[in-house]
């Protein structure tokens, strides 16, 4: 349901992403790996409008403009970042409320003139936000400022924030980075549960075990290009993939 065509990102003369085609099927869980500098994060940034990129994005059959982050989000594409990007001064629940899909009466009219409708919607948004926090196990920290959370909890908060907008697909950028074994296991369980519930996933990560535990198909990126794609076991045996990770001379031996 998510189709990215010929995505390219150039920083000056460097082509960080060099013509990538990617498909995430409805209800599919895709993993993405690649050595450092292969363009994985940049690709996610391109798809969510954070960097200037060329190419096409289609979600559920509809074209979505790459350059508009809000449009991408509205189309149902949610993402998390390599380092959790939560708003430290807002409380956890406020962080999550930001992402709610119902944006009516959130502006000045709602604040000054239509307070009744605005407050009614806020109540509903509130209960959705609480449910999202509960889903990731942060319901009891709802009123705490996000800055007070631990690193692992901030990751979960970011995840909750992604979920509340009822996304169709979640792009997760190295979600297990910085987490210990227990936290990684919890995260993996959570992602699998979400996938079982119908959420499509594109998970970028370095930990092979983790990727294998949350996805069925793996895409390998190197220097901005897809060099292999397929079930995990096949991909690790691919000579080019081995060479990309270990260096050419080793693979040739």
């Amino acid at each position: 349901m998510l189709r990215a065509e010929d995505i390219a990102v150039a920083f000056g003369a460097v082509r960080a992403v060099d013509g990538v085609d990617l498909v995430v099927g409805d209800g599919e869980a895709v993993g993405m790996v690649g050595p450092n500098g292969s363009g994985k994060s940049t690709l996610l940034n391109a798809l969510t409008g954070v960097v200037r990129a060329s190419g096409g994005l289609t979600v559920d059959g509809r074209r979505v403009p790459l350059s508009r982050p809000q449009a991408v989000r509205r189309a149902g594409v949610a993402r998390t970042f390599q380092t959790p990007q939560t708003f430290a001064e807002l409380t956890c629940i406020e962080n999550v409320l930001l992402a709610d899909a119902d944006r009516r009466a959130t502006g000045l009219a709602g604040a000054w003139v239509a307070r009744g409708p605005m407050l009614r919607r806020e109540r509903v948004r509130w209960s959705r936000a609480v449910a999202a926090l509960d889903r990731v196990g942060l319901a009891d920290r709802a009123e705490d400022e996000a800055g007070l959370l631990s690193y692992g909890q901030q990751r979960l908060l970011e995840l909750a924030r992604s979920l509340v907008g009822e996304p169709r697909v979640l792009l997760a950028d190295e979600p297990s980075a910085g987490l210990n074994a227990a936290e990684t296991a919890t995260l993996g369980r959570l992602l699998r549960d979400l996938h079982a519930g119908g959420l499509s996933l594109l998970v970028v990560d370095h930990k092979i075990d983790f990727i294998e535990s949350v996805s069925t198909r793996v895409v390998v990126l190197q220097l901005g290009r897809v060099i292999a794609e397929g079930p995990a076991a096949e991909v690790w045996r691919n000579a080019e993939v081995v060479a990309a990770y270990l260096g050419r001379s080793r693979a040739g031996a």
């Binding site: 969510t48 409008g49 954070v50 982050p69 809000q70 991408v72 989000r73 509205r74 993402r79 970042f81 990007q85 708003f87 430290a88 001064e89 807002l90 409380t91 629940i93 406020e94 409320l97 930001l98 992402a99 709610d100 899909a101 944006r103 009466a105 959130t106 502006g107 000045l108 709602g110 604040a111 000054w112 307070r115 605005m118 407050l119 806020e122 109540r123 948004r125 509130w126 609480v130 926090l133 509960d134 889903r135 990731v136 196990g137 319901a139 009891d140 920290r141 709802a142 009123e143 705490d144 400022e145 924030r161 907008g165 959570l190």
Partner: protein
């Protein structure tokens, strides 16, 4: 684990539980009392200035405190509102002037914001500096809109429904009414999704956009809104002073407004009220040091800003927190009770204000 035995979160969203509205009511009463207590022309002068500069500062709170736009243009819009109100009222009633100030300021602010929409923080700041400079020159030279040399005298006191507010007391109540309204509207913003969206915008525009916050609309909207507050303040300034000139709206004012907000505390809607009080009152207290006044004033402001990053509000917070600690034993930190915050965000269980 998700869902199991975590304590239930509070039943009411946070915007139901803060006390900004009570604060507005208290402020309104305080202004009323002050208007009655003061009895000298000099005292009324200070009171009037405080009221006008509070509104000016509140606008800047919206532009810079809440949405993080580093702008030097607040003084220019203050002047623009003043001149626009005189030009629009032109012998007619005050309401024409007010309408003129609001419309002109809002339109110019929108136009300017659109011109610089592609600039980042630093260029934006310089652009607002340039705008202020341009404004000063335009006030001086564009005589059709302003007056020869930009000096206008004999501006009538405000009138409303055939009642003229020309005594110190009645003018104070009139201006106080405007401040109460400005505080109320700001409180409404604090008690709405706009506040959290603006903070998200301020802290990280790009991430806010990926989450769905309408960043362009916010950026323009907050800037226009805050600048319009300045325009209204300018209109009130013109009619309370009776006399305006381009010197009243120099670039120094734009910088002073920064200091008002930082001094009072940029994190709170009450910051500008406190900051304006200090800026209006302190120079009088420092009179005794004579010619060293400007130097001490400047150094004092810098020292306060550097040592008290939260401004005077930070001091109030400290005192409030001490008071709370004395009155209640320490409670466990986590759990569904928000940390103690003063005036604008205090939490009391079971206070179901719904507005």
């Amino acid at each position: 684990m998700p869902g199991s035995d975590a304590p239930a979160p509070p039943a009411r969203p946070p915007i139901y539980r803060r006390h900004q509205l009570a604060g507005v009511a208290v402020a309104a009463v305080a202004v009323g009392l002050l208007s009655l207590m003061v009895d000298s022309a000099f005292g009324y002068g200070l009171l009037h200035s405080w009221l006008v500069f509070s509104i000016l500062g509140l606008g800047f709170y919206l532009v810079f405190g809440v949405s993080g736009q580093f702008a030097f243009s607040q003084g220019a819009f203050f002047g623009l509102g003043a001149y626009a109100s005189v030009w629009a009222s032109d012998g007619r009633s005050f309401l024409w002037g007010l309408a003129g100030a609001v419309v002109v300021t809002a339109l110019v602010a929108l136009a300017f914001a659109l011109v610089v929409v592609r600039s980042d923080h630093f260029y934006f700041a310089i652009a607002t500096l340039a705008f202020s400079f341009i404004a000063t020159v335009v006030f001086r030279e564009f005589e059709a809109f302003t007056a020869p040399g930009g000096e206008i005298v004999g501006i009538p006191k405000p009138d409303l429904f055939s009642h003229t507010f020309d005594t110190g007391r009645s003018l104070a109540l009139f201006l106080g009414g405007f401040l109460a309204l400005a505080l109320l509207l700001t409180a409404f913003i604090e008690r709405s999704p706009l506040k959290r969206e603006a903070i998200a915008f301020r802290d990280n525009r790009q991430v806010a956009a990926t989450v769905g916050v309408p960043v362009l609309r916010l950026r323009l909207g907050m800037f226009v809104l805050g600048s319009t507050y300045a325009g209204v303040a300018g209109c009130l300034f013109a009619h309370k002073s009776g006399f305006i000139s381009p010197e009243s709206f120099s670039l120094e004012l734009g910088i002073d407004i920064f200091l008002i907000l930082l001094l009072g505390g940029i994190g709170s809607m009450w910051g500008p009220v406190l900051g304006a009080a200090f800026v209006v009152w302190a120079p009088e207290q420092l009179r005794f040091v004579g010619e060293y006044r400007a130097l001490i004033y400047g150094a004092l402001l810098v020292a306060v800003i550097v040592a008290f990053p939260k401004g005077l509000i930070g001091l109030v917070e400290l005192v409030w927190a001490q008071g709370r600690r004395l009155r209640r034993p320490a409670t466990t930190p986590s759990g569904p009770v928000a940390p103690d915050e003063p005036l604008d965000a205090g939490v009391t269980a079971g206070a179901p204000e719904v507005v």
